[in-house]
Symmetry: C2
């Protein structure tokens, strides 16, 4: 439908192509942007370009950052002998928010998914292997507990263990505050299998 004219339509289309943005939200965002002062619009447009241009992979852990080394890798107080492997930068951020993890990370930028044609060579795995030549005590695999995440965890584990490095997997189970009746059976079974003696 041609409810709006050229530029408005295009803006709505571009915004609506972003993840999590339905057509209603895209419309609302577009009109909001059009009504913003010129300098705010310029700032938004500029930062989009700048972020794209300046953000690269951390040369150590492959997370997205605009510096050579991300803040975690650059921090000498962190335990650089403990590497947590995550699928993406947002997962890293999620663990950082806990404020409790003191090791460093490795960001795969994906997970192995034969269904979608994503193999071990398509994620940052060889960068992880390269890091293991240093002095690493433990690799904690914190990929998602999806099929792809589990496959990736298995693959990495089989790859690393022979080198005598301790490999662990984050626990899966009932989320804290979760209501049992609303939790899927697979999770419930996992929680049962992973039960701990009190």
């Amino acid at each position: 439908m041609d409810l709006y004219t050229g530029d408005i339509n295009q803006l709505i289309t571009e915004l609506g192509a972003l993840p999590g943005i339905g057509s209603k939200t895209a419309e609302r965002m577009a009109f909001h942007i059009i009504n913003l002062p010129h300098d705010r619009v310029k700032r938004l447009s500029d930062i989009i370009i700048r972020a794209k241009e300046n953000v690269k992979y951390c040369k150590e852990c492959c997370t997205l950052t605009d510096q050579e080394l991300c803040p975690v890798c650059a921090n000498q107080k962190r335990d650089h002998h403990m590497i947590m492997v995550v699928e993406n930068t947002r997962d890293l951020a999620a663990y950082e928010k806990t404020g409790k993890y003191e090791g460093v990370y490795h960001v795969l930028h994906g997970a192995i998914s034969p269904m979608n044609g994503i193999g071990p060579a398509d994620i940052k795995l060889k960068e992880l292997i390269a890091r293991l030549e240093g002095d690493v005590n433990e690799v904690i695999i914190a990929t998602n507990s999806s099929l792809e995440g589990e496959t990736t965890a298995m693959y990495i584990s089989k790859l690393i263990k022979p080198a005598g490095i301790k490999v662990t997997r984050i626990a899966s189970g009932v989320p804290v505050g979760g209501d049992l009746e609303n939790i899927d059976e697979v999770t419930l079974l996992r929680a049962f299998e992973g039960r701990i003696e009190l």
Copy 2:
């Protein structure tokens, strides 16, 4: 929290300032943008600027458009003697989606709200009055059924009626498919008051 470095943080902040975008969505959008191909990012950045620069008010109905006259006002098949008054361009689009309204519109870009210091002079009212000097049969007031929308409807009605122009208000009541038990009392009362003999 400084989970992300400079440019990523700034991008998340700018995106998060848009309406309907929470911090999680802003994060997801930011990383999505960073991972897009360069030409897509350029296109998004450009259309934001272009939409802001090119989109103006339609010189007839004040809706946002990148042409002199919006498609509705430019359409000679529409009934230009019937004007529906709406608060904003999205409301116009909502009525256009019905495909049934054959008149034209007038977009106020707001509603009278003494609480927020918005008076009659702050919305496109004098532009509406100017249009009434032409040959207008009916003004349909389709402002929201909020306090501000009702106030605006009353104000416009009092202003126009003495000139002998027919002024109507869209009906309020129970939405089609709405479940009575989930509808607020004011709406239920309105639906009762507005009941029609069958």
